[in-house]
């Protein structure tokens, strides 16, 4: 039946159309879309990118937004620690050492949470925020982009 991507398509279509209200029931899925007051047809349709993203991974910040929406848990008090540089993500200072943080760890702004290696330089990344690590978003040894979310933190 309806996949998430189908629904996304509907929303896009609805958005681009002059249709004002849409409701759809199919099996256990109910979709209902409505546009705001009188202000119909805004211009967002025309600002869509022409090309669908190519073979490479989804831009990291976008995917987070999606996750925020989709995941069931309450995320109002969470934030992410992002990579301030491009490089290889390491959870520990050496293969033998134990990870800087595990899920459940409490961090302060100056806690080192990981290493991002760039140009043979090991850069210790600090949390920059206080809270509890609730998710580790990248794999050890993975290349991380600038601004890529590394950890999800519950800031309470």
């Amino acid at each position: 039946m309806l996949t998430v991507s189908d629904i996304r398509d509907f929303i896009r279509l609805f958005d681009e159309s002059t249709v004002h209200e849409l409701s759809l029931e199919t099996g256990e899925i109910k979709l209902s879309l409505k546009k705001a007051g009188a202000t119909v047809v805004h211009e967002s349709a025309s600002t869509h990118a022409v090309f669908t993203p190519a073979l490479h991974a989804e831009p990291p910040m976008e995917s987070v937004t999606v996750k925020d929406v989709v995941e069931p848990q309450d995320l109002t008090n969470t934030t992410v620690i992002r990579s301030p540089m491009v490089g290889t993500f390491y959870r520990a200072s050496s293969p033998q050492a134990k990870p800087y943080v595990e899920i459940g760890a409490r961090v302060t702004p100056t806690s080192v949470v990981c290493i991002v290696e760039a140009m043979k330089l090991m850069n210790e990344i600090e949390a920059d925020i206080a809270g509890e690590i609730i998710e580790i978003l990248v794999e050890n040894g993975q290349l991380v982009e600038y601004g890529q979310p590394l950890f999800r933190v519950n800031v309470k």
Binding site: H48, M119, E145, Y146, G147
Partner: protein, 446 residues
């Protein structure tokens, strides 16, 4: 040939390079700033990585992040395009240090040509004509007169510490010289605290003529003829064409040979451009060398059929040039107009914004190099060029007619562009006659 190349640039030149790589069967890696997430170069590359925030200093100029990507993804070479890191010898040096091929000339060549006075000295030593003038600073007005007499009037007196037009005086004859020298000297002393003065020949109607050269790692250097880039606004080229209406075959040969000599003087490898000022009498003088691909390279591609970016990649990978000088055949005429997101009625103020409709012209002899598309947001952080429109035709007059037709067809909505400005310029009698100098836009109202 390389298997994987990283393109350390954005906009149309990144797209241009990606296209060349794709045609060569090379896997491509793009890098982008946070402002360029939806940029065309990101969409066209096989892989793409965010390297920093919008501000170029922290992204497109961020050597550490770019090299991190390059080494992590196993890129064998980096193409720097133009601008950003293209003429940064430190970057070329870092590339060499980590074993990634910098697609461009050697660190030595970049450095020698990067400093204007070193470049001039190098050229002079190689026997390439430079603008005649005093050897360094002048001691007094008498010395100035001797030099002026030797090189001929008019001359221009410049304060070594000058800039922005200050401390510059054009002197038409002997009678003016003494006063002018004294005034300039004291003016410079007051304005800059440095009264050092030198003197150069003043070209009243100079044209900007540049020669495209390309060399390989076997020591071959050839030239691909000239481009006439005289139509400029504050040193910013607006229209470029090849061949130049001002050159005949003899002068073309002479300037081409000088350019090859200049390139050989620094063991040049890759594509480069020797910029000359051409005087009315056919004398030409070395200005500077650009050690990278130029914005206006497509006009040369148009008349030679040679893909300059592919050649860059070929020679960087260790292959020889695909053509010899004898095999370079010029055919027809090519013109490029730079379409900028600018308001020419408001002093060419950049107009970033969202392009709501975009339809490029087509048909015979039309080439469009652009990273724009319908829905693309022109970010305010980088240069305002949104497209290069290049036409080819058998003759200059046909090329102008074709350009006019194509400009009329170019449909861009959402941002102001310089399309109408170009249309007016194309109708200018002096342009049609090919009778232009670098001062064209100062002298005429367009």
């Amino acid at each position: 040939m390389f298997n994987k190349v990283l393109v350390a640039n954005r906009g149309e030149i990144a797209v241009r390079i990606l296209r060349a790589c794709k045609e060569l069967g090379i896997h491509t890696v793009a890098v982008y700033s946070e402002a360029d997430r939806e940029a065309l170069h990101v969409q066209l590359a096989d892989e793409a990585y965010c390297i920093g925030p919008a501000i170029a200093k922290h992204s497109y100029l961020n050597i550490a992040n770019i090299m991190s990507v390059a080494t992590s993804v196993g890129a064998e070479a980096i193409h720097p395009g133009y601008g950003f890191l293209a003429e940064n010898s430190d970057f070329a040096d870092v590339c060499a240090a980590v074993g990634v091929k910098f697609i461009g000339p050697s660190v030595m060549a970049i450095e020698k040509m990067g400093d204007k006075s070193t470049a001039k000295a190098t050229m002079k030593a190689a026997g390439v004509p430079v603008v005649p003038g005093s050897d360094g600073l002048l001691h007094d007005a008498e010395e100035a007169l001797t030099v002026a007499k030797r090189i001929g009037f008019p001359v221009i007196i410049k304060a070594t510490a000058g800039g922005g037009g200050k401390g510059i005086r054009v002197v038409r004859d002997e009678a003016e010289l003494l006063t002018a020298f004294t005034l300039a000297e004291s003016e410079a002393g007051m304005a800059f605290g440095n009264s050092g003065i030198y003197l150069e020949k003043y070209l009243t109607h100079p044209r900007h003529i540049e020669i495209q050269v390309i060399g390989d790692s076997f020591g071959h250097v050839i030239h691909l003829g000239e481009r006439d880039c005289s139509i400029q606004r504050r040193m910013q080229k607006l229209i470029e064409e090849a061949p130049s209406p001002a050159l005949d075959q003899t002068l073309r040969l002479k300037m081409g040979e000088a350019a090859v000599k200049a390139a050989k003087a620094v063991d040049y490898e890759g594509a480069g451009t020797i910029e000359f000022l051409l005087d009315e009498d056919g004398s030409f003088y070395f200005m500077e060398m650009n050690t990278r691909v130029q914005v206006e390279h497509p006009v040369t591609e148009g008349i030679t059929g040679i893909d300059i970016v592919k050649e860059q990649i070929r020679v960087a990978s260790g292959l020889a040039l695909s053509v010899t000088q004898d095999e370079v055949i010029f055919r027809g005429h090519a013109i490029e107009c730079r379409i900028n997101a600018e308001d020419d009625t408001k002093n060419f103020m950049p107009c970033p914004g969202t392009i709501t409709a975009y339809h490029a012209p087509g048909g015979f002899g039309i080439r469009v190099d652009s990273a724009a598309y319908a829905g693309y947001r022109v970010p305010p952080y980088y240069d305002s060029m949104i497209a290069k429109l290049i036409v080819w035709a058998p003759t200059r007059s046909e090329a102008i007619a074709r350009m006019e037709r194509a400009l009329h067809e170019f449909h861009i909505e959402g941002v102001k562009t310089t399309i109408d400005f170009h249309l007016r310029l194309l109708h200018h009698e002096k342009f049609i006659q090919g009778d232009v100098t670098t001062r064209f836009l100062e002298n005429y109202e367009i």
